[in-house]
């Protein structure tokens, strides 16, 4: 399988809650709105969602509570059975898996972190982290070694014998993270992992999380209701409302071109200059390369502020990570973004 195939790909996925959702969906004429479905006595948890997650990508699903983001991620791991559509994980239709195949998939490929940690209260940190290894029958010595390794990775050395109730919220979530990483999953689901934490701890955990991701390079589906968190972490953001995806794009594009009024409401208060990168604002090369010191595509407009104000040229060359010039940044356009008129 080449690296271009999406790791998770879902097409027209529906998840309805109610008396007989399959029949209701089969009989639905055209596409009904969320409220119409509700009037019929069903709740649309996920409403006709098609989305793909590439290898090594971090997709952040953002939405307010009740928007269906947690339901969607539970469909990916088949904690919920979907009502309609299809979900493929690494090219395999997960709805066709038998119970044992599903257990195998979860034991070897998937890890999940929960909002309220979901730790087993009667097990120590070590036993909690080793739990998935124990379930797949690894021997005691091996699983202990691996668990200690992950515990060190999340910075909880010395707390191995503690029970969850003896730890702070941040520490408990570190245990949750360690547990989800113990089996070395390819796909990592994080369901609002930092929402239950204090703002300061949350910031610290986000940094920690970025550090881990730098090291591990997993395929990640990250759920949050915090737009700033989404902007900070995401490769791509999917914004959900009433079970449907309103827009799915890179942070730059969402900030610059919100697809709907609903998305625009989130972006309104955002300091766009801190989100938009030079690369996203650049035009493709049009035959000629402007003069001047090139700017790196991955710097934000905010970081370029001094340069933009002091420079005199109309256009600046933009280079990618390898140093090759890939585009042209219009200084005026960038200044508009900086001033908040973009």
């Amino acid at each position: 399988m080449n690296s271009q195939t999406p790791v998770i790909s879902c097409r027209n996925v529906w998840k309805l809650f109610g008396a007989d959702p399959e029949r209701y969906l089969a009989r639905m004429q055209g596409e009904k709105s969320y409220d119409e479905i509700r009037a019929d006595g069903y709740i649309a948890g996920v409403k006709n969602v098609s989305i793909e997650v590439g290898r090594g990508e971090m997709l952040v699903i953002m939405g307010l509570s009740g928007s269906g983001k947690s339901t969607l991620v539970r469909c990916f791991s088949r904690l919920h059975d979907i009502t309609g559509g299809s979900i493929e994980v690494e090219g395999q239709d997960i709805m066709s898996l038998t119970e044992n195949e599903l257990i195998e998939l979860r034991r070897n490929k998937m890890g999940m972190v929960f909002q309220s940690f979901g730790l087993l209260p009667h097990r120590t940190v070590l036993d909690n982290v080793a739990f998935p290894l124990e379930m797949r029958g690894q021997d005691r010595h091996e699983r202990r070694a691996r668990a200690l390794e992950v515990i060190r990775l999340v910075g909880l050395e010395g707390r191995e014998e503690y029970f969850p109730r003896e730890l702070s919220g941040g520490q408990q979530q570190r245990v949750g993270i360690a547990r989800s990483l113990a089996i070395e999953p390819d796909i990592w689901f994080l369901d609002e992992p930092f929402s239950a934490l204090d703002p300061l701890i949350r910031r610290e955990m986000q940094d920690e999380f970025l550090r881990l991701q730098e090291m591990l390079g997993k395929t990640i589906v990250f759920i949050t209701h915090d737009f700033d968190e989404a902007l900070r972490l995401a490769d791509r953001i999917a914004i959900m409302k009433n079970g449907a995806v309103e827009q799915c794009d890179t942070p730059d594009k969402i900030v610059m071109n919100p697809a709907t009024d609903y998305v625009a409401k989130f972006t309104e208060e955002i300091d766009k200059a801190r989100v938009v990168h030079a690369g996203a604002l650049a035009h493709p090369l049009n035959g000629h390369v402007p003069d001047g010191q090139p700017v790196a595509a991955r710097t934000t407009i905010h970081d370029l502020a001094r340069r933009l104000v002091s420079d005199s040229g109309d256009e600046l060359p933009v280079t990618d990570d390898t140093g090759a010039v890939v585009g042209v940044l219009n200084r005026q356009a960038a200044l508009d973004v900086l001033m908040g008129d973009g």
Binding site: S77, M112, G118, L119, P121, E134, M135
Partner: protein, 763 residues
């Protein structure tokens, strides 16, 4: 939006006006029947259902039971082969094993009896592990007391059955609870059965147990298991349902199979509820095992029954204390186990330190076994003057193995005389005499006669009307059906007498319990404030009495014991200034008072109430018989003190959980204490109080049957009589009568409490 609310309120109005007219109709019809009867124009068939209308339920049931039972003599297959196999096979084997270990019955494995001191030592270690020195003292002390008053063998006969019945009830309850949680249909089918089981009088458990499972310990164990199972089932289901969904999902994402989910995720996460279930199983086992004395099971219960029969109150009192101590110990230990959290050890802790208590327990066990062995080699020293009198150390050493008959410290006869002296005190006698006369002549008998006078249809209408008024149409229909069934069994008058006893006792208990609870919940407020209004003053005065009554009682008990031991010959006047008893009384009062003075009053009352809640119901008969002898007042009194417990507990609970911002709002609106109580706290506490009231009624229905022992004329008496024979059908019909009446109250009151809570937005 406005139009929508208009509509609903309109509908509500219409519905409530429909309700009012239905209520008027029901009560009007009842009134008409009463008036007709009063003027003598009521036809007899409307007064009581005529005989030809009463179906022979008992015969039908007998035929049915006979059919499923099968017959061992003729060889007709049936249930009895299975039950007999169970009771003669595995169950009897287990009972024999524990009986051998604990009381030395000559059966496999033939190594018992284990000496009491070894058991007491292990209990002490377990107590220390679970709850520190206090628990160690309680657990060790209980066994120490039991052995030294010479009731070890009796207690072990009881415990050997419990130690089989409780684990079995736990296993069955857990299994059924898991099945009920897993399969919704099973849960739905189970709930009504459990509701009936929980209201069925225990005599109805006993007879089938005897018929299907042999007489003696096996039948007792079976009845106990069935009786103790329902709460275990309910708690298991509840606990499993309450496991946080994230923990469940975490388990699934870890790739658990179904069995791994149950074993490693669900059951450990539901640990607390399951252990609460275990606690209930143990308590119910103890309560029931005492009652199985009625079908001839040996042990503490049988002895208590025999002693009470021959009015040996001193010995009864001692056995009562043993039962209570055992109950409190088992209860506190299992509760401590519920809250006990595992501790972690740092890396490198040596093995014996990790398992310190196991090592200690085993060590103590072995050491005391050895000591007991040595102790049986020395003469039986006693503390009494005579041939074998030894000093205290010699005595203690010689009883480590067996407490010989001459060695026990029982004071049964002495306490007997002391109690009689106490009851002979003029003040006490006059009070109980007057109470007995007043309650009997002025309250109970007129009330009973009035209820018996009411024509059956009017009675059913009034009950249904109340159910309709309080709960709703569904409950009214249920009430009418249930009471009609009771009427159709032909046991109407006895049912009414049962009901009358229950109602009188609960009403009396409310008169005492609710003021007590209100006073308790007022917590830290000064008990007697001179600035308050006259009502405040009255509440304060009542409070003052309540807090001192236990102290007073304790002091009185100690001094009368002393009074007895020193002045057996002449009955010196207790209240004369020369009597040392008076000073003893004063000193004890002072000591006790100093001990509890600093306790907040709610702690005093709740400690008493919570302890009383663990007493097996049988115990409550002792003071009742002691004070009032054998009559209706004693019955009502024993039910009264039994039901006082839940009434007080729940009222305190309800008042305490009134949201503080509401009482603060009342304070800021300038409400006086009394206004705050009547218009804020009580209305908000009412739904919780109703739950307590409901439990009180259930307790009363339970107790009224036991009170058959004192001598009643109600269903319980008939039930007790059936125990002697094989009248399974009649036994069931009577049991169902009790159960149906209790269920009517249960359903109605619970529904009312739920409605009320929803209306107040409390849940």
């Amino acid at each position: 939006m406005a139009s929508v609310t208009d509509h609903t309120s309109l509908r509500d109005d219409r519905r409530s006006s429909g309700r009012m007219s239905a209520l008027r109709l029901i009560f009007g019809a009842a009134l008409l029947l009463l008036v007709l009867k009063a003027v003598g124009m009521l036809p007899e068939w409307l007064n009581r259902p005529p005989d030809w209308l009463i179906p022979p339920y008992a015969q039908w049931l007998d035929a049915f039971f006979n059919f499923i039972k099968g017959d061992m003599e003729t060889g007709r297959p049936g249930l009895i082969y299975l039950t007999r196999w169970f009771s003669e096979g595995p169950l009897e084997f287990m009972l024999n094993t524990t009986a051998n270990l604990l009381e030395g019955k000559r059966r496999w494995p033939n190594i018992g009896p284990i000496s009491w001191s070894a058991i007491a030592a292990v209990a002490t270690v377990i107590g220390y592990y679970l709850g520190g020195w206090r628990m160690a003292a309680l657990a060790g002390g209980t066994f120490f007391w039991t052995a030294l008053v010479g009731q070890w063998k009796l207690a072990m006969q009881t415990l050997s059955v419990i130690s089989v019945a409780a684990p079995l009830a736990f296993v069955f309850g857990l299994t059924l609870g898991i099945v009920a949680w897993k399969y919704n249909w099973f849960d739905r089918a189970m709930r009504p059965i459990l509701a009936v089981l929980q209201t069925l009088p225990f005599f109805t458990y006993l007879l089938p147990a005897v018929i299907f499972f042999k007489v003696g310990p096996t039948a007792g164990a079976v009845a106990t298991i069935i009786y103790a199972m329902p709460p275990m089932i309910l708690m298991t289901t509840l606990g499993l349902q309450k496991v946080s969904p994230e923990v469940v999902e975490a388990g699934k994402m870890a790739g658990c199979t179904r069995w791994q989910m149950l074993r490693h995720v669900y059951l450990p996460a539901a640990r607390t509820e399951i252990l609460v279930g275990v606690n209930q199983v143990i308590m119910l086992c103890l309560a029931m095992v005492v009652l199985t004395a009625f079908i001839g099971m040996p042990g503490l219960g049988a002895k208590l029954l025999a002693m009470m029969n021959s009015f040996k109150l001193g010995r009864s009192f001692e056995i009562g204390v043993t039962i209570v101590l055992l109950a409190v110990t088992l209860d506190r230990l299992s509760k401590a186990w519920v809250v006990k959290q595992p501790e972690h050890f740092e890396k490198g802790t040596p093995w014996w330190k990790r398992h310190f208590y196991t090592v200690l327990g085993c060590g103590a066990f072995v050491v005391f076994l050895g000591l007991a062995y040595l102790s049986n080699r020395v003469p039986n020293y006693t503390l009494i003057e005579g041939a074998n009198q030894g000093n205290i150390l010699q005595y203690l050493f010689s009883v480590l193995g067996d407490v010989h008959r001459t060695q026990d410290l029982s004071q049964g006869k002495e306490i007997d005389t002391a109690i009689k002296h106490f009851l002979d005190l003029d003040g006490i006698q006059a009070t109980t005499e007057w109470l007995r006369w007043f309650l009997n002549v002025q309250v109970l008998i007129p009330f009973r006669n009035a209820l018996l006078w009411v024509p059956t249809p009017a009675f059913i209408l009034v009950i249904a009307g109340f159910a309709y008024w309080l709960a709703g149409r569904r409950e009214a229909i249920i009430a009418a059906i249930f009471f009609s069934i009771v009427a159709s069994t032909g046991w109407w008058d006895r049912s009414v007498i049962t009901l009358y006893t229950v109602i009188s006792a609960v009403v009396l208990a409310m008169l005492i319990g609710i003021p007590l609870a209100i006073w308790t919940a007022r917590g830290a407020a000064p008990p007697l404030s001179l600035q308050g209004s006259a009502k405040d003053f009255a509440i304060g005065l009542v409070g003052l009495a309540f807090k001192r009554i236990p102290v007073l009682f304790g002091a009185l008990l100690v001094s009368s014991l002393y009074h007895f031991f020193t002045a057996v010959e002449e009955s010196a006047a207790f209240l004369s200034p020369t009597s040392p008893s008076l000073y003893i009384f004063g000193a004890t009062f002072l000591v006790l008072w100093l001990a509890v003075r600093d306790w907040p009053r709610d702690k005093v009352v709740l400690t008493i109430v919570d302890t009383a809640q663990t007493f097996p119901s049988f115990i409550y008969l002792i003071p009742a018989i002691m004070l009032f002898g054998v009559n209706d007042v004693a019955v009502v009194f024993s039910i009264l003190i039994f039901t006082l417990v839940p009434l007080t507990r729940y009222t305190v609970e309800g008042l305490r959980h009134v949201p503080p911002e509401m009482t603060e709002a009342a304070d800021m609106s300038g409400a006086t204490q009394v206004q705050k109580l009547t218009s804020v706290q009580l209305p908000l506490a009412l739904p919780t109080m109703a739950v307590g009231f409901n439990q009180a009624i259930m307790f009363a229905f339970f107790m009224v049957i036991i009170a058959a022992f004192i001598g009643t004329q109600d269903l319980g008496q008939e039930l007790q009589r059936t125990l002697a024979g094989t009248d399974l059908g009649k036994n069931f019909v009577l049991g169902i009568c009790v159960s149906l009446m209790a269920l009517t109250f249960d359903i109605t009151i619970n529904k009312w409490a739920r409605n009320r809570k929803a209306a107040l937005g409390l849940e």
